[in-house]
């Protein structure tokens, strides 16, 4: 009888320990996603910015080169100007004619997609954490497991909560 009781209590205790470890794991999985965001987003933004700077620079060069080509008075100058122009054109096929057909928008759309996906991943990791907390809290409070939990000093874990109350406010979209 005592043996059965000991096995039963051990089972409950092990279950509780597992739940608590799951909560710790859930929290560190959130950290993994936060770290991913921290490492990824600034670099993606830099990459998009880099492209923008490149596009702008090339376009201005091309436009200037055109001006020189038109303004050139002798043949020698013209050939030289056109050489500059062709080499600039080669580097940016986007500049066909008229107004430049900017390509940076694709990079920005891509960046928007990645930002959203990153936040979705973080949100899912937090939901998983909440689920783990839920399981731990339920198993701590259920009778008769709660007796074992109280005797062995298990405590309820806290659900995800924002540190700053103002973060609950609607973000201001202003241009």
């Amino acid at each position: 009888m005592i043996g059965v009781f000991v096995i039963w209590v051990t089972g409950i205790y092990n279950g509780l320990v597992q739940s608590r470890l799951n909560v710790t794991k859930g929290l560190s999985q959130v950290d993994v996603q936060l770290k991913r965001r921290h490492d990824l987003i600034p670099n993606l933004v830099e990459a998009a910015k880099g492209y923008m700077a490149y596009e702008k620079e090339t376009l201005e060069k091309v436009t200037k080169a055109r001006q020189i080509a038109v303004d050139a008075s002798n043949v020698q100058d013209k050939i030289q100007a056109e050489n500059i122009l062709t080499s600039s054109l080669r580097s940016l096929m986007a500049v066909a004619e008229n107004y430049p057909n900017l390509k940076a928008d694709q990079h920005v759309l891509c960046l928007q997609e990645e930002l959203t996906a990153t936040e979705n991943k973080i949100s899912l990791a937090r939901q998983q954490y909440n689920e783990d907390v839920n399981r731990l809290n339920v198993s701590i409070q259920l009778f008769p497991d709660s007796i074992v939990a109280v005797k062995t000093g298990f405590e309820k874990a806290a659900f995800f909560q924002m540190e700053l109350a103002e973060e609950r406010q609607v973000p201001v979209v202003k241009f």
Binding site: M52, L109, S123, N134, N137, Q141
Partner: protein, 419 residues
């Protein structure tokens, strides 16, 4: 008391009765949480136990064996009917006699089933379903009995019949067709490949249900099991016919068990309510982190476009139209097309995308809040009802407040462009 004394018929019946009671309480534990969970929408499904409604969709549907229906799951079976005569010995007037007894039945001669990953689609979006271990409750595609004259007879089943065959085969097929409305109870978890949720089997695989019937059909299936098992437990425990003090013992155990069960269930449901509120927080945090960054990115693109197009135009302006007119043939072909055109602004795509993402974000928050309000309401309702009210008072369980809009949020919104 020795073991032989203990193992009397009535004691064994009592033990069986208690086993029934235990199983009943387990069934009660399941029905509680499931019955009180609200149905989620696909994009509002949070990690944990979920109920979903929608239609079954897939890019690569399966084709069922008998009816060639495009579906996400199917199961088929061919039964062959037989009649056999079995020799039976019996005793009559102290003498051994034998006689032939006719027996009837049917055997499965061929069968098969298949399922695949599919998507559940509702008005908000899609969610992936991984149906391993699921219990399917599906619709009948096909049911037909036929003899060997029918070409169907040999088509899907072996030529060799069973012993004593009457040459009558019955074909069954059922499944979940493409675009068919389905109801799912399962466990949502984050997907490994992309940032979305998927529905898989919970730890307790018997809770994973994929059904073509409505949720009302499944509501209370564990509740009725609870009552039946408890009633059978009482029958075994007390024995039929004579009521005595033992029955009172059973009732006492039952009341204690019910009390503990109800307390535990209220605690578990209360935790789910708190989890719902915490998930609202998660989505608010997502909005806070996401929207500001999206706005910043789009602003950067807008400024960039403005600057580049402006500067290019300015540089061209210095060109001098007159000079150009005189030398057109000398210019490069690219320059000939300088005839005035408006620039092709591209930031609009990014702005549209921003609008879509903000709407999606708010949609998610609204769905999670609605989910919280529903689960909190069913929890509060239980706490108010007799006899749960008694348990709630004994266990000091309190109700949860709903989410309401602030007064300033109730007024009509005016789309104002000019300040």
């Amino acid at each position: 008391m020795t073991l032989e004394n203990f193992l009397t018929v009535s004691n064994i019946a009592k033990i069986i009765g208690l086993i029934f009671l235990c199983r009943g309480l387990i069934a009660g534990k399941r029905h509680w949480l499931l019955d009180n969970l609200p149905v989620s929408k696909t994009i509002g499904a949070c990690v944990g136990l979920v109920k979903l409604e929608g239609t079954a969709e897939t890019e690569a549907p399966l084709v069922s064996t008998l009816t060639k229906t495009r579906c996400v799951y199917y199961k088929w079976r061919v039964d062959e009917h037989w009649i056999r005569y079995v020799k039976e010995t019996y005793e009559e007037d102290g003498r051994q006699k034998t006689r032939m007894v006719k027996t009837e039945g049917s055997d499965i001669v061929a069968s098969g089933s298949d399922y695949n990953l599919f998507y559940l689609k509702d008005e908000y979006g899609v969610i992936q379903i991984r149906p391993n271990w699921a219990r399917f409750s599906s619709r009948q595609f096909f049911y037909k009995s036929c003899g060997p004259n029918n070409p169907l007879y040999y088509k899907h089943a072996p030529r060799q019949g069973v012993e004593g065959s009457t040459h009558e085969r019955t074909f069954y097929e059922d499944g979940i067709a493409l675009h068919c409305p389905v109801y799912i109870e399962g466990y949502a978890r984050p997907r490994q490949d992309i940032a979305a949720a998927e529905v898989v089997s919970p730890d307790d695989t018997s809770l994973f249900l994929i059904s073509t019937s409505l949720k009302e059909y499944h509501k209370g299936r564990y509740a009725s099991r609870f009552w039946w098992l408890c009633a059978w437990g009482l029958v075994f425990f007390a024995g039929v016919g004579n009521l005595n003090w033992d029955d009172l013992v059973y009732l006492l155990i039952w009341i204690t068990g019910w009390g503990v069960l109800t307390y535990n269930n209220l605690i578990a449901l209360g935790q789910s309510v708190d989890q719902g509120l915490a998930n609202v927080e998660v989505h608010l945090k997502r909005r806070h982190d996401l929207v500001e960054n999206l706005v910043r990115v789009v602003t950067a693109l807008r400024d960039f476009e403005k600057e580049v197009q402006g500067e290019v135009t300015l540089l061209r302006g210095q060109l001098g139209i007159k000079k150009l007119e005189g030398r057109q043939e000398a210019c490069l072909p690219a320059l000939r097309a300088i005839a005035e055109k408006y620039p092709h602004l591209k930031t609009d795509a990014a702005f549209l995308d921003l609008q879509r993402r903000i709407t999606d974000t708010e949609e998610r928050i609204a769905l999670i809040r609605a989910y919280y309000n529903e689960i909190a309401t069913s929890y509060n309702k239980l706490l108010k009802m007799i006899p749960h009210r008694l348990i709630a008072r004994l266990g000091k369980i309190i109700s949860r407040a709903l989410i309401n809009a602030g007064d300033f949020e109730r007024v009509t919104i005016q789309a104002r462009f000019a300040e």
